[in-house]
Every structure is written in structure tokens, then in C-alpha cells.
């Protein structure tokens, strides 16, 4: 397998996951605005797109919420928008048509075609909710097709690596921004709880019901943070994602018979989450813990590129 194939599959995994995250964020934000009248702009901070959004805002005339949704959905200047991410994932896939299955390619290509058709349609009559719903559903189908049909070889491991690294990073970002939006001082303890606001934080990773199943108790900021960060059994938690990253790295190390800095870093990140306790995290400071986590995830991505000659 070529290094460029590894690179394309890695980024295909990352972009697909990014699109999925963005779709969920749009949904959660929309509900939040409807239920609590909460201001919605904070969501663009998750991908560090504040300036770009303000810039696009000054040019549009629509209501704030719909221009925000359009920024997250259609704006090609926003690299995290659904259109940008799906476009990038499809470019990666198209270059690797011969290394992915027909099922994966067709489901991704179908989503790209649908987005294109909706983009060309009149914005005034566009059903944005249906669009986001459709992206979410089809993204699940693409990942499903990958699970069910891809040969379990090196290429598959690079795809997994990209998808889980992105997902872990996304959850860390969401928790960081949302938590500190609701609790600027970073303290998990407070006299009053905004039930709707905290359930929307969970909704960003689709874990409202999961929370109930696990804790069987009222929403509590510390438990929300624990669920999103440390629960290994929650498939979108940072811990779960970095566990999967570590597993994929080990598979590759076994296949190639070599280990490097990327392997060490992946193992260390996994261990850090596996053995952390939520009260300790808050002793250190959530912002500090998550900041370090995100920096190291970025570093790991660089090391993967270096170790496998992806660049």
C-alpha cells in the first residue's frame, strides 16, 4: 500500500467524522435556541472559526440563527462546514477508488451528490432540518459500510485512525467550549442548574439517554464532563476514541514490525484518560486538562504523518 493511500484514508476518516460532528452541533444548537433562547454564536468557537463567521455575517442579511446554520452547512470558506468536509472526504475517496469498496464509495458519493443538488436549489425554500438529518443518517451509513465491507488491512487501520482521532478531538473541543460557556469559572459546582443547556451539551454527542442509563440521576456538570471525557463505554467519549486510536496504532505496529514516537504518544494519551479520575481533573482544572489533551492529539496527528511518510 502506498503512503499516499494511507494519507487519503486517514483524512477521509477525519473529514467524514468532522461532517458528522458538525451536523450534530447544528441540531443541538437549533434546539438550544428554540428552548432556552440562548445565544447560539458560541458554537463557531468549537472549531475556532469565530473570525470567519463574523466576517460572513457582515455580508449576510438573514436572521442570526439561519445564517449561522448556513455558515456551518454550506459555507465553503469554513473548512468545518458540512459541504467542505464532505467535499474533502469525497476527494480523498475518489483518489482511492481502487482501495475502498463500492459500498463505501457509493454511499459517500450519493451524499455528495445530494448535497450538491440541495446547494443548487433555492435557499429560501430549503428544508435545513431535513438536510442535517440526512447528513447524519448517511454519515452513519458510510461508516457502517466501512465496518461491514472494508478489508481489515493497513488501509482500514488508517481510516479508523483518522476517524477516531477526529472524533476524540471534536468531543474534547465541544466539552471545552460548551462547559466554559455555561461555567466560565470552570467549577462543576453551582447553585442552579440550567437543565436545558446541559442536556444540549450531551446532545452534541448524542448522549442524553446514555447519561440517564449510566447515572440514573439528575444532570450534573461533573458527571457530564466525566461521561464525555472518561467513560470508555461511551463511543464518542474522548477515552473511547483514544483507546481505538491506540488499538489501530498497535495493529499497524504489528503489521510493520516497527514502533515510533507516534506509538508512544498514542499509548500515553490512552493511559492518561484511562487512569484519570474526574475529581482530579477538576483539581487540575478542566480547561488545562482539555487544553493539554487537544495539543497532544494535534501532536499525535503530526507524528503519525512523520512516522508513516504521509507528507
Amino acid at each position: 500500500m502506498l503512503s499516499s493511500t494511507a494519507k487519503n484514508l486517514y483524512w477521509m476518516g477525519r473529514y467524514l467524522q468532522r461532517a458528522k460532528t458538525t451536523a450534530r452541533l447544528i441540531e443541538a444548537t437549533q434546539r438550544m435556541v428554540l428552548q432556552s433562547g440562548e445565544e447560539s454564536e458560541g458554537v463557531v468557537a468549537i472549531f475556532g472559526m469565530d473570525d470567519e463567521f463574523r466576517h460572513s455575517q457582515s455580508q449576510s442579511e438573514g436572521a442570526e440563527l439561519s445564517s449561522l446554520i448556513d455558515f456551518l452547512t454550506f459555507d465553503e470558506n469554513n473548512p468545518s462546514s458540512i459541504v467542505s468536509s464532505i467535499g474533502a472526504a469525497r476527494r480523498n475517496a475518489r483518489e482511492e477508488r481502487n482501495n475502498i469498496t463500492v459500498d463505501v464509495w457509493e454511499s459517500l458519493n450519493a451524499l455528495w451528490l445530494e448535497l450538491g443538488a440541495r446547494l443548487r436549489a433555492d435557499r429560501a425554500t430549503l428544508d435545513r432540518t431535513a438536510l442535517v438529518e440526512s447528513v447524519k443518517k448517511q454519515a452513519v451509513m458510510i461508516f457502517g459500510a466501512a465496518q461491514v465491507t472494508l478489508l481489515r488491512d493497513e488501509a482500514y487501520n488508517f481510516f479508523q485512525l483518522g476517524a477516531f482521532l477526529e472524533r476524540g478531538d471534536n468531543t474534547a473541543r465541544i466539552l471545552d467550549v460548551k462547559f466554559h460557556h455555561l461555567r466560565p469559572d470552570g467549577s462543576p459546582h453551582a447553585d442552579e442548574m440550567d437543565y436545558f443547556a446541559w442536556s444540549e451539551v450531551l446532545a452534541c454527542i448524542g448522549a442524553v439517554r446514555t447519561y440517564r442509563r449510566i447515572y440514573r440521576s439528575a444532570l450534573d456538570p461533573m458527571k457530564v464532563a466525566e461521561l464525555m471525557m472518561l467513560r470508555r463505554d461511551v463511543p464518542r467519549s474522548v477515552h473511547h476514541c483514544l483507546w481505538m486510536v491506540d488499538l489501530s496504532m498497535r495493529e499497524l505496529a504489528d503489521a510493520y514490525g516497527t514502533r515510533g514516537e507516534a506509538d508512544r504518544l498514542a499509548g500515553e494519551l490512552h493511559a492518561r484518560l484511562r487512569y484519570a479520575r474526574i475529581d482530579q481533573v477538576f483539581d487540575i482544572g478542566l480547561a488545562k486538562f482539555l487544553g493539554g489533551m487537544r495539543d497532544d492529539i494535534a501532536l499525535l496527528s503530526e507524528e503519525i504523518g512523520r512516522q508513516f511518510l504521509l507528507d
Binding site: 502506498l2 499516499s4 481502487n98 458519493n109 450519493a110
Partner: protein
């Protein structure tokens, strides 16, 4: 636009206007199938092609936009004895072309014998000095040849042009068949059609057979310019079918005269490169220094016999439209045989007498650029307005050596679905001839159809479509 000349219709031109034997199954199917069913089927086809991403980026399209090539669901049918004859003629022609290429970059005996002037080779814009003296495995230069044929009568086929650089279109042969089997299984049940699916198997065998190394499992890769190329789908498709790596120039590098590909495991040696990049872009050290598509040092490795490239370097000297006129002579010279397939009579505008004739008869002729392709830069006299003809005449006068002219052939027609229903449209045929240690041709080839009424230009960039091409088995009873 009126028909310029009366054409041979492959379905209807039987004795007394009866349906010709090979088309009886198709004719019955057409009678039985309702127009609604056909419309629905055609819609299905377009969806199928788009979903599979079988697309074609026409040059000049905005942002390399992807379009699908229209596919016509009425197959083009060739009887077994017709194919047997074409097969023999194609093998003969490609053997001669290969002998010529080896000679052109070797001793040039054909020039010394006075059959072809040396200038025809040495002064040719496509001549590559670096290929001089190359000794290739099996002596093969044109491993994959696409020979464009046209039919004008019951027994009359002509070779329109030879393509021995990087002929494309074979993926459509394979995909069209897949689509047809899905759409009209009942038609296959009624007729015995020879399969084409083994093309990739034969191609891989051909590529492996021309490795310099005696490694039992030589590493073969397909080199593409990348996904902005109009034929990228085909590159990916063939690599996938053969199970070989699809590489770009940046995936390869040369070290100590050997070619390697970059992998997460480290460098891996490459033995044979099926390249879909033009000569000029192959190696920035040897050819165009501004090429980002190629591999620095690649041609040095080829010359050193460390890696073979398919098709070979400098094949353009054999397939331009002026060398074309010498192919019948090549067949006599190298093989000592009479040509089986005929050339279209051709006037070369660099010859004063021919030039004079061409200028006087522009309204009847087809005029083409010597190095042109894709149906561009050409004039079809009978279907052009007077003003167009006059404009073209002044272009030809400026550079006569750049043009050849041929009579306007009445290309055969096949029934085709168009907006008004089923109507005859002009077709050509491009069989793909594989030459390694042996020569193989998958039955049929790519049938291109001019969808505009009366049009003789079948190129996909000029509104052409494709059809599935059926060669009937020898034991097929036309019943």
C-alpha cells in the same frame, strides 16, 4: 441536416431492406419493449453511472466538472465471422506497428529500403531521441493499441486511425457490459454474446510479461496524472480490477537507477509502469522540466533496463495521421503479407499535388490535423457552411504540412434511442489490442455513436455517446 451520403445501416441493410441476421434478436426485443420501459431504463442508466462516479471530465469544462458519457442501450452487434476477419486484420496491423517502432528507434531499415523517408521519423514532433536504441522485453513498444475502425458496407471496414500512445475508453467497454446485463438480461438469454470481463486479467498478464526482471511476481503499477485528468475514472477502475497500485508521480522516486514507490513500510521496488501520462510529462529531468506529474530520473531507469514503461516512449511516431498513410507498406515490408484491413485513402497536404486536390475539393472531404485528436481542429466538408470551409482553407494554407484529408466516409449507422424514438446514428469501433509475449484482443471493443442526426463526429468531447458492443459466439444461431 440532410444525410451527406447514403450509409450502411447495420440492422436494416439486409437484402431487400430486411433485418440483418446478427440483429434479429435486437429487432425482436425492440418490437416487444414499450417506449415507457425504455425511458425508465435510460433514466436508470444515468443514475447508475452517476452513482458509480463513472464520469468524464471534458477538457475546458469549468472546474474540471464531471459529466457522464451518454450510454445508448441498444447494443451494436457483430457476427462471429465479421469479428474473425477483424481480429486477423488487427493482429496483423499491430504486429507491423510494433515492428516499425522497434525499427524506428533501432536501425531504421525501412528507411534504408526506401519505403519510408527517414525525415518522416526523425523530423516527427513525437520522435523521442532518448528512446533511440532501447531494447524492450519481447521487442514490444505498443503494448496497448486502440485501432479505430469504421464500416461502410457489408464487407467494407477501414482503419481510421491507430492509437498507440495512451488509448483510453476500455473501462466503458467493461462498464457498458455490466449495465447491459443488468438492464436487459432477457436479450442476453436470447443471444450468445462473447464475454469481455477478462480484459483486466489479460492486461495484467500482458504487463507482467514485459518486465525486465525475471521475478515471478513483478510489481506492476498504474501511473496516473491524478484525479483532475478526464480519464481518471478509467485509471482507478483498471488499477482496481487488476489489484495493482494506482500511483501518481509523487508516489514514486528513483534511487540508484531503480524505481521505488513510497509506502508506510518503506520503499518498494517497481518493475513495470502502466503509464497514462504523455511522454512530455514523464520525467522532468529528461523531458519538460516544469512537469509535476512525472518522476525525476524515470527515463534513466528505463534506459538502464531497470523498469519498463507501457506503452513505450516515443510511440507517437507511429500513430500520427501522416505516418498512418505508410502502415500498409509497413505490413508488406515487415511481415511480407498483404494488408487485411484497408486504410482510408488519404491526401497529405505536404505533397503539392495532394494539396492542390484538397483545396479544390474541400467541400467533399474531411480535413484533420496531423497530430490532432478528440475531434477538434477538423473540417467535415459536406456538413459545413461555405464560410466555415473558406475559413478552414486559409488555416490549411498557412501550414499545409500540418493537415491531411480523407474522403467523407459514409460511416455505418446503428439503431439508437434519441428524443424522437429509435433512429439510425453513425458509429465507429475501437478494439483494444494487447501485445506482450502474445497478442490478445477482447471481443468487440468500444462503439462510439454520434448522437446528433447526420453527425459523423463520435468523440465524447463533441457530443458522442457509447454502446455496448456484442460479438456473437460462433455457435450462435441467429434464428
Amino acid at each position: 441536416m440532410a444525410e451527406a451520403v447514403k450509409s450502411f445501416d447495420e440492422m436494416r441493410s439486409g437484402a431487400d431492406g430486411a433485418v440483418r441476421a446478427p440483429y434479429r434478436g435486437v429487432a425482436r426485443w425492440l418490437e416487444r419493449t414499450s417506449p415507457e420501459r425504455v425511458a425508465a431504463t435510460r433514466h436508470e442508466v444515468d443514475l447508475f453511472y452517476r452513482r458509480h462516479g463513472i464520469t468524464f471530465g471534458a477538457y475546458g469544462a469549468v472546474d474540471g466538472a464531471e459529466t457522464t458519457i451518454p450510454f445508448d442501450i441498444i447494443p451494436r452487434v457483430i457476427a462471429w465471422d465479421e469479428w474473425e476477419y477483424l481480429h486477423k486484420g488487427l493482429v496483423q496491423r499491430v504486429r507491423a506497428l510494433n515492428a516499425f517502432l522497434a525499427d524506428a528507434y533501432g536501425e531504421r531499415e525501412i528507411c534504408r529500403a526506401g519505403v519510408i523517408p527517414e525525415a518522416q521519423i526523425l523530423m516527427n514532433a513525437e520522435f523521442v531521441a532518448m528512446a533511440q536504441g532501447l531494447e524492450l522485453p519481447g521487442g514490444v513498444h505498443a503494448h496497448i493499441a486502440g485501432i479505430d475502425l469504421v464500416r461502410v458496407g457489408e464487407k467494407d471496414f477501414y482503419v481510421l486511425e491507430d492509437n498507440v500512445r495512451t488509448p483510453s475508453g476500455v473501462s466503458y467497454v467493461l462498464e457498458n457490459r455490466e449495465v447491459m446485463m443488468r438492464l436487459a438480461p432477457e436479450l442476453f438469454a436470447a443471444m450468445r454474446v462473447l464475454p469481455v470481463a477478462d480484459y483486466s486479467e489479460e492486461l495484467l498478464a500482458t504487463l507482467r510479461s514485459v518486465s525486465f526482471s525475471d521475478d515471478a511476481e513483478p510489481n506492476v503499477v498504474l501511473l496516473t496524472p491524478g484525479h483532475y485528468n478526464s480519464a481518471y475514472f478509467e485509471h482507478a477502475f483498471l488499477a482496481d480490477e487488476m489489484g495493482i497500485e494506482l500511483v501518481k508521480g509523487s508516489d514514486l522516486f528513483v534511487d540508484e537507477g531503480r524505481v521505488y514507490m513510497r509506502t508506510p513500510r518503506g520503499p518498494q521496488r517497481v518493475d513495470v509502469i502502466y503509464r497514462r501520462i504523455d511522454d512530455a510529462f514523464l520525467d522532468p529531468l529528461a523531458m519538460r522540466p516544469d512537469s509535476y506529474l512525472g518522476v525525476a530520473g524515470l527515463l534513466g531507469a528505463v534506459r538502464a533496463g531497470r523498469v519498463n514503461i507501457v506503452n513505450a516512449l516515443g510511440n507517437g511516431v507511429a500513430d500520427d495521421k501522416s505516418t498512418y498513410t505508410y502502415v500498409p507498406e509497413m505490413i508488406r515490408f515487415y511481415l511480407g503479407e498483404a494488408p487485411i484491413l484497408q486504410n482510408v485513402p488519404t491526401w497529405r497536404c505536404d505533397k503539392p499535388d495532394d494539396f492542390k486536390y484538397v483545396l479544390e475539393h474541400l467541400a467533399e472531404l474531411v480535413v484533420k490535423e496531423v497530430h490532432g485528436s478528440g475531434g477538434k481542429g477538423m473540417l467535415v466538408g459536406p456538413t459545413s457552411a461555405k464560410k466555415e470551409i473558406e475559413e478552414f482553407a486559409s488555416i490549411v494554407r498557412a501550414r499545409p504540412d500540418n493537415y491531411i484529408a480523407q474522403p467523407t466516409l459514409a460511416l455505418s449507422t446503428c439503431p439508437t434511442f434519441v428524443a424522437q424514438g429509435v433512429a439510425p446514428r453513425h458509429v465507429d469501433l475501437r478494439p483494444f489490442v494487447l501485445s506482450g509475449r502474445k497478442i490478445t484482443i477482447v471481443p468487440g471493443g468500444l462503439t462510439r455513436v454520434a448522437l446528433k442526426e447526420g453527425s459523423l463526429v463520435v468523440n465524447s468531447s463533441q457530443g458522442g455517446g457509447t454502446k455496448d458492443t456484442w460479438v456473437l459466439a460462433p455457435d450462435h444461431s441467429a434464428g
